[in-house]
């Protein structure tokens, strides 16, 4: 699989705000995650912080969604809630049809295990396990049988076959992120959540990882939700949501980096 030149492929499409989408397209899109009137508050009294303010937001299946914003905008908080790592103070959140605000910690944990794939900026891999064990970790935790064919396909697609027995300390940053992607894919989750996945990588490796994620959406039909502060990275996405001060400031399907920069 070749790394694709995303900068040329998508820049041509003009930005289309959501509210001008035609009805047909709207019906074709299924929400895989939806936030309804979600508010998240931290602390109390003088140190009270409202990270998210009454947000209603559907996120669609089979799409690559980027969430952007300056630091302190609440984008990370939103991602955490989308990923089931945190619960809102007010409102409801549905992930793959399940209302997570009613779940206890154990059920929430199981949900994460089975329906959500994670890629973080760093600390992605368990240092004591080798690459193969890291990839299989979520399936092993839930004791589900892994589809060997699927596993081999993913591993090959990510170029990890020669590295399966290596430890994370023996891999480069890009290779480690690829392992994280493989892990996210193998369990065939409902959504893949990525928090600044290319933050620590150089531009070439960043491109590689992003094209892999793009491929996951195109070829394997995954839904990817990514938080980033880098506008050029956002052009890989089908939809860009800009968050600022705990509210959604803009919501576009298809955009160029320049357009996004002007939004921020």
């Amino acid at each position: 699989m070749e790394a694709m030149e995303y900068t040329t492929t998508y820049a041509a499409a003009p930005a289309q705000p959501l509210n001008t989408q035609n009805a047909q397209n709207a019906q074709a899109m299924q929400p895989v995650v939806s936030l309804e009137n979600v508010t998240k508050v931290y602390g109390h009294g003088d140190t009270r912080v409202r990270a998210l303010k009454d947000i209603t937001l559907p996120l669609y299946k089979g799409q690559f969604t980027s969430i952007m914003g300056p630091s302190g905008s609440g984008k990370s908080t939103m991602l955490h809630i989308i990923a089931g790592l945190d619960t809102p103070s007010k409102g409801t959140v549905h992930i793959d049809g399940v209302d997570i605000t009613t779940l206890k910690d154990k059920q929430l944990t199981e949900l994460r295990r089975e329906r959500i794939g994670f890629i973080f900026q760093s600390f992605n891999l368990v240092p004591t396990l080798n690459v193969l064990d890291n990839i299989l970790l979520p399936t092993q935790l839930s004791n589900t049988k892994v589809d060997r064919e699927w596993l081999n396909r993913v591993v090959e697609a990510l170029g990890l076959t020669p590295r399966l027995k290596h430890r994370p300390s023996e891999l480069s940053g890009g290779q480690q992120q690829r392992v994280a992607v493989a892990r996210a894919l193998v369990s065939r989750p409902a959504i893949i959540v990525a928090d600044e996945p290319t933050g620590n990588l150089d531009s070439k490796t960043s491109d590689e990882v992003l094209s892999i994620l793009r491929q996951a959406v195109d070829e394997f039909g995954q839904s990817v939700i990514m938080v980033t502060h880098n506008p050029s990275v956002a052009t890989v996405s089908d939809r860009v949501i800009v968050v600022s001060d705990g509210t959604v400031k803009a919501d576009f399907m298809g955009a160029t980096p320049d357009q996004i920069v002007s939004l921020l």
């Binding site: 955490h80 990923a83 790592l85 945190d86 910690d105 154990k106 944990t109 199981e110 994460r112 295990r113 089975e114 994670f118 973080f120 900026q121 760093s122 600390f123 992605n124 891999l125 368990v126 240092p127 004591t128 396990l129 064990d133 970790l137 979520p138 092993q140 935790l141 839930s142 300390s169 892990r183 928090d195 600044e196 933050g199």
Partner: protein, 895 residues
């Protein structure tokens, strides 16, 4: 030191003191243990010294009554099928009373002769016996009085109530006895007899057929649990019980208070003593006729001899007792060392920041060293304080000190201060290496992202090679030593010494090897577990091999010692059991002090509840080979199968079994003329003599059939009994006492029970003492776990995000703790078995007649494993909770 370092240090102490909690716990436990041990030994020594001082307090001279003949018929062999005088009891009684009267007269003469010596204030009688052998002077009252109530009885020494300046006992309750039927006892008596002040008890002398006298308890004297048990009564009271005379010595009270013991010196008392000896010369002339001589000694000699003897004993006891706290301290040092290392590693980033910002390496080292030193010094102080308080309480509880104030004055303050200083110095020393490591951190490390601490696999080639060499050499030494001959005493001790030395080196080498090899053993063991949590745990355990190794070795040390003791004791027990079965085949020979057993006594003995079988042995007195001066007891031995635990030589009809080497064995036949109750000869028979090593001097054995033929109406001298296995000795003793007052007891069961009791106590005490080391090791396991949880915050956050439930997280921690502890325990038990076996084959056990048995107390060892497993699960509880609380969101936050 520079003031910013001080500020930083104080800030760290405030915020991060919790890091050092387990260090504090380990040091506190070890220090408390040491101080407690010193305190107990110090208290026992003081109490013992006080008893020695009490014996001769207020006097300057002790007048002993010494036998003039050299031969003393002290046969203290407990197993002797004792020579029983079967002649008229009344005649014996008469002779005794006459002698007592004569002695009283002589004593009165001596007393008045001494009283007239200038400088003598008073001469007082005492029940204590003085014995002088070479340089050893002993002075104590014989414990030959039984105080009983309602079937229970206690053994005590009866003493006269004395006036000042002799020892005045403190009364915990009540008052001193005044009338002849009043007695004061200690709370040991009131406790075991379940009586109180005002109750009446029966007092009698042991081994004589006098009736018991009734006494009323008027008071409880406060004596420590370590003094010889004494009961006080008036002179009339004591004499009513010990009718053959109770006084055994005279004490001289001098007018000059400066020459009174225990303050006076021997030299100051010598002048008066020689004058007293002169005065006694006239009395001694007539005393010689009774076979007695009055000899005076300076009282202080007894005090000094006693103190010296006590001192040696106490020093020996203290050194032995200190071994356990020192082992605990050693284990604590290992734990503390590991902790300091880990903490220094964890703070690498913070320290690197300091270096980046401009602190010198020296300053960083000072910071870390100061923290570790404070942690150590404060913990040592807490431990010493706790130990001191606990020690004072213990001394009061054991009646060694009358109250807390007295207890505090008895405490060995030098020892306590030394412990505090020592413990502090050790922890400071242990902190030196980590602080030096910490100073080496490069400032660049401050900029690196925080990683979980992982060790680079260091090569330990030197250590491995060295330890293998030592191991092989020591094993060779052990084998060589075991092969050495063990003929006489010196050979045995040489062999013992060599094997012990070789074993010690082997132990050191094994520990060195294990610090490298243990993580791999645990890894191998852990491969059995297949669950994802289990595999994570297994990997986690070996991610920091040297940390796992140190904590594991600490557990091994404690477990090896405990299992060596357990296995050793159980092996000694089974070896002794087999040996006793062979040498003392009969459990109990029950006889009577005053002749043959009565019908009533026989009936009770036959139906004795604890006996599984009883056999009568009849006996009479007889004259052998015409020697009318020394009549001999003839016993008719029936077949003892069912009673005997191993083969006894069977007496064939027509033969007579005599002691090995007896003169009568030289003749072709032995003539035995049986005596009747009044001492007249009845029938005479002839038998063929056979030498028999199981027979003691003074008795001969015939077959039961032969005796019956010669003396059909012979009474039953002994009942041989086999006791039901497992019956505690005290039950047997009390039971037999209830059969009759004059019942005597001999036989293997007594010895067996005494040994078993002693062994049980030893094993309990040792296990408790060694258990402290194991507790400290487990604190170390918990600590290591807690610190690694702190290190792995981000990793744990990742695991939680990926779907590890809280329960699984806790199980992960438990599995880690479990793997380390279980494997270490099993290794420890294995080593313990080897060392115990070596020990059994080396200890000077000769003349046992049976082979050495090494037995494993499976129940005790299983119990040990179970407790360790449970404790290690507990040790993972707190770190487990902390780890499970980790929120993935916080843990994975960007820096």
């Amino acid at each position: 030191m520079a003031s910013p370092i001080n500020k930083l240090f104080l800030a760290n102490v405030k915020h991060h003191a919790s890091r050092y909690v387990s260090t504090a716990v380990a040091v506190t436990i070890a220090a408390t243990f040491v101080v407690l041990c010193l305190t107990l030994m110090g208290g026992i020594s003081s109490a013992y010294m006080a008893t020695i001082d009490d014996a001769t307090r207020g006097t300057s001279t002790v007048i002993a009554e010494q036998a003039v003949n050299t031969a003393t018929n002290a046969d203290t062999d407990a197993d002797a099928t004792a020579e029983v005088s079967l002649t008229d009891a009344a005649a014996a009684q008469q002779a005794q009373t006459e002698r007592a009267q004569k002695m009283a007269e002589l004593r009165a003469q001596a007393a008045s002769a001494v009283k007239s010596v200038p400088g003598v204030s008073d001469v007082v009688e005492s029940t204590a016996q003085a014995s002088v052998e070479g340089e050893t002077y002993q002075y104590n009252a014989p414990m030959n009085v039984s105080i009983g109530s309602d079937g229970r009885s206690s053994l005590r020494a009866l003493e006269y109530l004395q006036k000042a300046p002799l020892t005045q006992y403190q009364y915990k309750e009540g008052r001193a006895p005044q009338a002849a039927n009043e007695i004061a006892v200690d709370d040991g008596v009131t406790g075991s007899l379940q009586v109180k002040v005002g109750d009446s008890v029966e007092v009698s002398t042991l081994g004589v057929s006098t009736d018991a006298k009734k006494f009323t308890i008027t008071g409880i004297i406060g004596v420590s649990n370590f003094s010889n048990g004494s009961a006080l009564a008036t002179k009339e009271g004591v004499e009513s019980v010990q009718t053959s005379g109770a006084t055994n010595s005279l004490l001289v009270v001098p007018q000059n208070t400066a020459t009174r013991s225990p303050q006076a010196s021997v030299t100051s008392q010598e002048e008066l003593t020689s004058k007293v000896n002169d005065a006694l010369k006239s009395v001694n002339a007539s005393a010689k006729a009774e076979g007695v001589e009055f000899k005076a000694y300076p009282a202080q000699r007894f005090v000094e001899s006693g103190r010296q003897h006590a001192q040696t004993q106490v020093t020996a006891m203290t050194s032995m007792a200190l071994i356990f706290p020192l082992i605990a301290a050693f284990v604590a040092a290992i734990i503390v060392g590991t902790t300091f290392q880990v903490i220094a590693l964890q703070r690498r980033r913070e320290l690197a920041l300091l270096r980046a910002v401009g602190a010198q390496a020296k300053q960083v080292r000072a910071l870390v060293l100061r923290e570790t030193s404070i942690a150590g010094t404060v913990s040592a102080l807490i431990g010493t304080a706790v130990g001191t308080l606990a020690g004072a309480w213990l001394l009061t509880y054991l009646n060694v000190a009358a109250n807390y104030i007295a207890a505090f004055s008895m405490l060995p303050w030098t020892g306590i201060i030394l412990t505090w200083v020592g413990a502090s110095l050790i922890t400071i020393f242990v902190g030196l290496a980590p602080s030096r490591e910490a100073a080496k951190v490069s400032p660049l490390a401050a900029l690196a992202p925080v990683q979980s601490v992982q060790e680079t696999r260091r090569k330990h080639t030197v250590r491995v090679v060295l330890s293998i060499i030592l191991l092989v050499a020591s094993i060779a030494g052990i084998v060589y030593g075991l092969r050495l001959p063990a003929g006489n005493a010196s050979e045995i001790y040489v062999r013992f010494g060599i094997v012990v030395l070789a074993t010690f080196v082997c132990w050191i080498a094994a520990m060195m090897l294990f610090t490298v090899v243990l993580p791999y053993i645990i890894y191998f063991f852990g491969s059995v577990v297949r669950t994802p949590v289990g595999r994570l745990a297994r990997e986690n355990v070996v991610r920091n091999p040297s940390r796992t190794a140190s904590t594991g070795v600490a557990v091994i040390i404690g477990v090896v010692l405990m299992s060596t003791i357990a296995i050793g004791v159980s092996s000694v027990r089974s070896t002794l059991d087999s040996s006793l079965n062979k040498s003392r085949p009969v459990d109990i020979y029950a006889g009577s002090y005053i002749g043959t057993l009565s019908k009533d006594e026989l009936a009770k003995l036959h139906s004795f509840e604890y006996a599984s079988k009883t056999v009568d042995i009849r006996g009479v007195q007889a004259v052998v080979n015409g020697d009318t001066q020394s009549p001999v007891t003839v016993l008719g031995y029936p077949d003892l199968t069912g009673v005997q635990r191993s083969e006894l030589p069977v007496v064939a009809d027509g033969t007579i079994h005599v002691t090995k080497g007896a003169i009568m064995a030289q003749k072709a036949t032995v003539s035995v003329c049986f005596l009747d109750a009044s001492g007249q000869q009845t029938t005479c028979r002839e038998y063929k003599p056979v030498e028999d090593s199981s027979i003691r001097d003074g008795s001969v054995h015939l077959s039961a059939a032969d005796l019956k033929a010669a003396v059909p109406d012979a009474g039953v001298a002994f009942v041989a009994m086999r006791i039901k296995d497992g019956t505690p000795y005290d039950q047997v003793f009390t039971g037999l006492q209830r059969v009759g007052r004059n019942i005597s007891m001999n036989g293997g069961y007594v010895e067996r029970s005494l040994y078993m009791q002693a062994l049980n106590i030893i094993v309990l005490v040792f296990m408790a003492l060694l258990g402290v080391s194991v507790v400290i090791s487990l604190v170390g396991v918990s600590n290591t776990l807690g610190l690694s949880v702190a290190e792995r915050t981000q990793e744990n956050g990742l695991l939680r995000a990926l779907g590890l439930t809280r329960g699984q997280m806790k199980r992960l921690l438990v599995m880690e703790s479990f793997l380390t502890s279980l494997v270490s325990t099993l290794v420890g038990i294995g080593l313990g078995t080897i060392f115990a076996a070596i020990g059994m084959y080396t200890l000077p056990f000769n003349d046992l007649g049976v082979g050495i048995e090494v037995t494993l107390p499976y129940d005790q060892l299983a119990g040990l494993v179970l407790i360790i497993v449970l404790a290690s699960t507990l040790a993972a509880w707190l770190p487990g909770r902390k780890a499970a609380k980790v929120s993935p969101v916080e843990a994975l936050a960007h820096e």
